[in-house]
């Protein structure tokens, strides 16, 4: 297992390095960050001063070399726009995104799996058909639109929750998060729901498919032949089996919840990393874009690793590469 993990981490470093190359040069091709930064009043001399101050007058290879040198010491450069270290900016915004992502995952599991279970066990009931139809909407409706609709309904019309923003922070077991306060919960509810919609639909469909498949398998028939209660058959025998694909997929999707919750964060003015990223892209704040994507890649690799380990725990037939027999 240790060898397996080490090997994975080394692969991670390689991927992160390649990502940094791609993004660094890619952002360069999009446009010139200088014009995004200097005030229009600036004359030619000011613009040139800005260019040299940002190091943009050097050849791109040299710029990348300097970046690597700094990266080896943990310095991923300073944001062109904020002047602060890119890494610090991202880490500062990370907790907000993490709590949103976890909340969305929580909703997806707590709403999606039970609904999918029901739809799988009673596929012909009206409720099941309704659930499946709703899941299609979950896939097809654009997050942007749904978010605004949620705000219009729950915040403007019903005035049950605030429209935008993050709530007060609370502390629990040394972790600071807005989900530990009532105010925070009222703020996170809509964006978490908005973000979770796609994942809920996915969970519903995955769980239902898993249940449909499992119910027809011999071990279910055998369990019934042993006289086990339906409850035990579903929640022990079936669940343990379908959890494998569900956990795998949801785990991988979690990566995108963290990295790309851009639309939800923008609509709900949620101060997370996603919004930081999109602003950085639009304004060609290259250090932030590069740092962000490198971190996200690391996250993805880490999540993949955890999912693989979880998989091997859930399914005893699976051995991880490099494990002894």
């Amino acid at each position: 297992m240790t060898v397996f993990i080490i090997r994975r981490l080394l692969q991670a470093l390689l991927v992160v390095f390649m990502m940094s190359v791609i993004v660094f040069f890619g952002v360069n091709i999009v446009g010139d960050p200088v014009y995004m930064l200097v005030s229009p009043d600036a004359d030619q001399a000011d613009i040139e001063a800005a260019i040299s101050r940002l190091g943009l007058d050097r050849p791109i290879w040299e710029q990348y070399g300097l970046f690597l040198k700094g990266a080896a010491q943990g310095d991923l450069g300073n944001s062109f726009i904020f002047g602060e270290p890119a890494l610090k900016l991202i880490l500062h915004h990370m907790p907000a995104t993490m709590e949103l992502a976890f909340s969305a995952l929580f909703l997806a599991i707590v709403i999606g799996i039970p609904l999918g279970l029901y739809a799988g066990l009673y596929p012909d009931s009206r409720l099941s058909k309704g659930i499946m139809a709703a899941s299609i909407f979950g896939f097809s409706l654009p997050t942007f639109w749904v978010g605004l609709m949620l705000i219009m309904l729950f915040a403007v019309e019903l005035q049950w929750v605030p429209a935008t923003g993050r709530g007060d922070l609370g502390s629990f077991l040394g972790i600071q998060s807005s989900i530990f306060t009532l105010d925070g919960l009222s703020h996170i509810f809509l964006p978490a729901l908005n973000l979770a919609l796609l994942k809920i639909s996915l969970a519903i469909r995955l769980t239902r498919a898993g249940v449909r498949e499992a119910m027809g398998l011999d071990y279910v028939k055998y369990a019934r032949a042993k006289g086990l209660s339906t409850r035990r058959i579903i929640f022990v025998h079936v669940m343990k089996n379908i959890m494998i694909p569900v956990v795998t997929v949801m785990g991988l999707e979690f990566g995108s919840l963290i990295g790309f919750s851009v639309v939800t964060e923008t609509i709900f003015a949620w101060p997370g990393m996603g919004k930081l990223l999109i602003d950085a892209i639009l304004q060609l704040d290259r250090p932030v874009v590069v740092a962000y994507l490198m971190i996200i890649v690391l996250f993805f690799v880490l999540i993949n690793l955890i999912v693989d380990i979880l998989y091997s725990i859930l399914d005893p037939r699976v051995r991880l590469q490099d494990q002894g027999a």
Partner: protein, 325 residues
Amino acid sequence: MSAVLEVSGLKTHFFTHAGVVKAVDGVDFTVSKGEIMGLVGESGSGKSITGFSIIGLIDAPGRIVEGSIKFNGEEIANAKEERLQSLRGNRISMIFQDPMMTLNPVLRVDTQMIEAILAHESVSKQTAWERSRDALGLVGIPSPEERLRAYPHQLSGGMRQRVAIATAFLNRPDLIIADEPTTALDVTIQAQIIHEAQKLTRQTGTAMIWITHDLAVVAGLAERISVMYAGRIVEQGGIDDVIDRPLHPYTVGLLGSVPTANRRGKRLFQIEGMTPNMLDLPKGCAFGPRCHARTDACGLQPPIEDIDGRSLRCFNPQRAAEAVK
């Protein structure tokens, strides 16, 4: 001896889109306490369905349309699910064909054995565990504690089937239905399993229905034999009697096609024709189209006749016996 199981006029039909499949269409037999009955037939003859009907595991689109199944005098055909659940794994057990498919791959052996006990009796987990361990010892498994901790895929085929057998005996049932339990195993293991099963039934006085397509298996094991063809029992009687003097043309053909050392050099006997299409059975005797002894009378369904302790559905039994010689 008292009858543990009395089946009369059992009809289990499947209502599919393509038509009605009369998988079991008029089956009668009785199993006495401690008796082993062999239920023999080719694939599609309805023998497994008969077994499932008894234990009440016929699912849509099939159902028991007619007939009676009396277990210890109690009518259980189409009984309430709760009643059936309390009987299954408790008073009537089932052993399936392929233990790799029937044991849940993600649960340990001990889990799957203990739950069979706890579903019907409130004992402590420790007690249930000890009983499971003892049961494994009984079927000849060495170091049963280790096997208990294992997952199904870590055991060999023969071992798994022994676990299945042990599980079937756990709650001292009155009847065990074994559906092709040795078909998936190699010959040497087969012999061992059959031996264990025989030993256990003798020890515990459990009745057993041994479903198989292999006459040779049943010959050394069962006391009575029922031969099924196209959903009906065509011949039934004491094992030695039927094997020495088969009356139904199908039975004759079955016996004839068993390769034995005595017939070395001679061409293997084949029953002409193909297994019937259950959706489109011929009028009259279903075996008619393949029968050497066919006469015009066979255009009608032959009724059951009792001759010297033998039950038979045939208009022309004598002639069939002669034809083969």
